[in-house]
Amino acid sequence: MKKLILLFVILAFITTFAASTIELIFWTHEDPNRTPLEEKYIQEFEQMYPNVKITRVTYPSGKIAEVILTAFAAKKGPDIFNMEIQNEYPYILNGRVAPINLEAIGLKSYDELKELYIEGALEPVTYEGEIYGLPLELTNWAVFVNKKYFREVGLDPEKDYPKTWEEMMEVSEKLVIREGEILKRRGFDFRYPYYFTFFLPMVEQLGGALISEDGKTAIVNDEAWLKVLRFMKEWGPNGKNLGSPTYTNARKTFNKDNNTVTMCLSGLYQIDRIRAQNPEFYESGEWMVVPYPVFENAVKDVRCNYYGHYYMVNAESSKEKQYWAWKFINYMLSHPEDYLLNVGLIQPRKTLIESDTFKNYPYADVFIEDMKKSHSVPLLANGPQFEQLIREAVEAVMLTDTTPEEALKILKEKANELLKEEW
């Protein structure tokens, strides 16, 4: 009998303890520099609040959108997650994410929250008067240059770096190394398949747009689109063979400084990745960052679109979990300087942007100056589908016999069909 009572007491204790423990599942994309930082915050948070247990799971950045989508479709989404804002936006529209719990983050109103961030930083996550995410980063891309390879071909990197897309093609032709038809070193290559980020601004520079101002037409200004599609065709393996979506990501090989790529497009975080992966190259001073180019006859000075990663909370998690999730997110994000210095991520907090730490950070001025001339990636209910249609058009002209005119015709047809589709 005594044994039975003891067993009952133990079971009751376990049940009570288990019931009071809050387990939060946190999914994010792989970032080797961010992982140790956030694991540290998890440990600190769990020490402060022993009733909370947080499990952080990472997925490759190219896969996380799919993984989260399938999880949410099965109503098994994580409590906390982040993706690029264009992928997160449909979750806001469909009521799948919870608005910020102001009490959990120690604020009284949304206005107080907005005051902490630079103007417009929370706009992408504001919907029907509620705010649904806190920004982990606001990122735009500029051109990273390996100065050594410029000098090798008789160019002065400080003066001869490409300012226009026409110059980019010209300079890249000088920088490439070929063995027969095989490309051994690229001058520059784009950041495939992020067409909303790097490709749309090229179209906009020439006066084109994805959606008309009245929102009724997709793919505006055929001439602008055609010119950029022709440029991409000429860039690809069936043109001048300067780069291709099928080649290894230029951003990855750039850090290796192994004579395979001279320039790539990336964000400020690339600097920390160079430092982590190739300290010798980082210290050598043989790299620099220059602004995103503009077409010679551009009608608009638009630079690379910026995108945000916002931490969000699953609307289907219990209210208690939502509270702790926001509390934890707020705790992590209350260290913007750590994120900048260790990961190279820019949190759009006023305190950070105005700090000396940020102002003295290498090449921060290049990114900020470009960001002033840029805007966010488009936020649409079916944004990922639009980006995919652009991808199909660009890759068709670069990698098949499809002409820019044919690709544009298909793109226009499909994009307008998508625009008219009601959900």
Binding site: F72, E181, K184, N241, T246, N382, L399, T400
Partner: protein
């Protein structure tokens, strides 16, 4: 006697019951749900209930150029893959069966790619199809050319060929093993009788082995055709890695993109039902032929 038979039947049913339950939950239920949802409009992440739309998903697909492009891509891939697979797996099986040494080793060597994950296989081959990869080096050696880029991933025809090669490499060993089993099931006495009657090795193969292998050949050809209609991993991986989608957007890839990228579950389900009908049609043919071609010794 009757009660014993009855008992046996009951126990037999009890033993297969778990498999039946498993099949109902994991096969029949999803199939039934896919059929039901194919008549609805449903956004994958929306919490709104599906909206009944009748046959409009099917009508849309039958009028969609993207769907017909997928049918074409699937047909090209299926035909381009299953014909060489049947021919070469038969040749390899005969070569292995007639060897006196290393038979088991060769069987294992041919079969080994089939146990590899499809994504791993596609990754290995994707690297080989890069301009500096082994595929270009091999063709340059074969045609005695110098550093020519045969554009494995940047020309429509070469891209289709590349996906066919990956699939062929991965599965030819699997079908070779089926043929080896078929060859082994032919009684030796039949070959011996032919040799006593004066048949040579070639005649023995042509007039004894080949006709008696007809059911296996049919089985392999139809099995491989059905499998090729369901191909997905290689095309998915290649497209994810930057290859153009149009030439290799097989039906399964289109289903995946429609459901996961476009979030249109109803339309994707309608496409999967059409694919199911196509596969059932070939399965029906398989049953018809296998019944008429049974061989007894």
């Amino acid at each position: 006697m009757k009660s014993l038979e009855r008992k046996k039947a009951v126990w037999g049913f009890i033993f297969v019951l778990p498999a039946i339950v498993f099949f109902i939950i994991f096969n029949f239920y999803p199939m039934g749900y896919a059929f039901w949802i194919s008549f609805h409009k449903k956004n994958l992440i929306s919490l709104r209930p599906p909206k009944f739309v009748g046959f409009s998903n099917y009508i849309y697909l039958l009028q969609s150029s993207s769907f017909w492009n997928s049918v074409k891509a699937t047909a090209i891939f299926a035909l381009g893959t299953f014909v060489p697979i049947v021919i070469f797996s038969l040749i390899f099986a005969v070569l292995i069966s007639t060897r006196k040494r290393f038979q088991k080793f060769l069987e294992m060597a041919y079969y080994s790619p089939a146990v590899l994950s499809s994504v791993v296989a596609a990754t290995i081959w994707f690297l080989m199809f890069q301009p500096y990869g082994l595929a270009n080096q091999f063709l340059n050696f074969l045609f005695n050319t110098n550093n020519i880029d045969y554009k494995w991933l940047s020309s429509e025809k070469m891209l289709v060929l590349a996906t066919i090669i990956v699939y062929f490499w991965k599965y030819v060993g699997y079908y070779t093993i089926i043929f080896i089993a078929g060859i082994a099931s032919i009684p030796k006495s039949v070959h011996e009788a032919a040799i006593i009657d004066g048949a040579g090795k070639w005649q023995d193969f042509l007039y004894i082995t080949l006709p008696l292998l007809k059911p296996t050949t049919l089985l392999v050809s139809i099995m491989s055709m059905i499998q090729t209609l369901r191909t997905f991993s290689t095309q998915y991986f290649f497209v994810q890695s930057g290859a153009p989608i149009k030439p290799i957007e097989v039906i399964t890839l289109n289903i995946y993109n429609t459901a996961i990228r476009d979030m249109r579950v109803g339309r994707a389900s309608a496409m999967s039902i059409i694919l199911l009908v196509i596969i059932m049609f070939f399965t029906y043919i398989q049953f018809k032929i296998s019944r008429t071609e049974e061989i007894s010794y």
